[in-house]
Symmetry: C2
Subunit: 245 residues, 2 copies
């Protein structure tokens, strides 16, 4: 669903200062995208954001094969930061991992942290590719913020350095014992932890159970795939504790 | 996330009566799947469901290249019907359409209805392939019910025959005017309607707005892709009105 609130039809994330009258020299990649892929021309508009200065309408003032220039006109949306919610997840198959990152960006996660768990099959991820997915999702969803995708790290190391003021919300059927549907989800700062296919190991379960501020999020009577669980948990948190209300 | 509540590791949907001692002759496809793909053998177990009689543990009693026989032992889960919630959606790109159907089955939609809207690009769908996705999702998610995927039909025709006792919940930013986050979602029978990329046409909006029992579901400040909106809306309904609580 594309909404119609943008003045410019296309949105572009740029690592460049934005402001009234600001001129922006385009990289070769951006020039290629705007002028060859989208076939935009001088005088046409693009919406720009850089993750910190809101969204700006910009006009194409010069085009070229290897570059071009934009000029910022007016700010069309203020900078909007997502709530302080992290998504911590164990990478699964490539398509579903891409999907999780895309959806986390759309649903307003502030940070995305892939972790290796005892039952994680993926030994490595392409962090740069996942970051590009998050960026593209931000361009698509009209957001002004791009969540950072961290490098893959062991879950145990992440938990070693866990700031206990950040609530940990997990979705893993085997971990919760009796689900507690009446427990409201904790407010920010919070993190949602999604286990891999196969769930957490007994050692991981024991460690998670022993932590303070650990809250299960019940996700119904059917077993959800990891990607579904991620989207569902992000939705419930945003609707009750996040910026949806 | 695979839970460990099944006794048999593999689950199979079959259009066959299930019951104590019931013998089941396998189709060639099922025999191939069980004996060649999964490499199961005589004496091993499979969990079976047919959409109406719960889940049964069955033992492999004969194997063959083009067939084989199972025998039902005990019922391992009662039949569980999902709440009376439909998902009505406009098909988008192939992968995302597949995804919507898979997620709707996992999240417990009772029926899945693809519709052509004024701004729908897809002129046709492969209903059989989508139905197979729903079935596979039910096998994976431990459910005992497989939602029926309807043939593609025009939204206007679906609305012509709409039973107004079924609440219509839509997710389309342009349609809602002022979102009403405080409005609780209506209970079953209900249907969630997800618009295509580009949203609904002015004529469709006018018609939907004029209908009784139409409720917007607000999905936050960012623009969600159609597949994300489907998962988010199904989650919110199931968590508040469905079988998650």
């Amino acid at each position: 669903m594309t909404a119609h609130r943008e003045q410019a039809k296309h949105r572009l994330y740029l690592e460049h200062a934005l402001g009234q009258g600001q001129a922006i020299d385009l990289s070769r990649d951006h020039a290629h995208y705007l002028f060859n892929v989208l076939r935009l021309n001088t005088g046409q508009r693009v919406a720009l954001f850089n993750g910190t200065q809101g969204e700006w309408q910009a006009e194409i003032v010069a085009t070229g094969k290897r570059g071009g220039t934009l000029r910022c006109l007016t700010q069309s949306a203020p900078q909007r930061m997502p709530p302080d919610l992290w998504l911590v997840f164990a990478p699964i198959k490539k398509t579903r991992t891409d999907f999780i990152v895309e959806k986390a960006a759309e649903l307003g996660a502030a940070r995305i942290l892939p972790v290796q768990t005892d039952f994680t099959n993926s030994e490595r991820i392409r962090q740069d590719r996942l970051q590009a997915h998050a960026l593209e999702a931000a361009e698509q969803c009209g957001g002004t913020y791009v969540p950072q995708v961290a490098q893959l790290q062991p879950l145990s190391r992440l938990l070693d350095g866990w700031d206990t003021s950040r609530a940990l919300i997990f979705a893993d059927e085997g971990l919760s014992g009796a689900p507690a549907p009446e427990t409201p989800l904790p407010p920010a700062p919070a993190a949602i932890l999604i286990g891999p296919e196969g769930g957490f190991s007994p050692a991981e379960r024991a460690r998670l159970r022993a932590m303070d501020h650990v809250t299960p999020v019940p996700l119904g009577p059917r077993i959800l795939r990891a990607d579904t669980a991620a989207v569902a948990a992000l939705t419930l948190w945003q609707a009750t504790r996040g910026d949806w209300s």
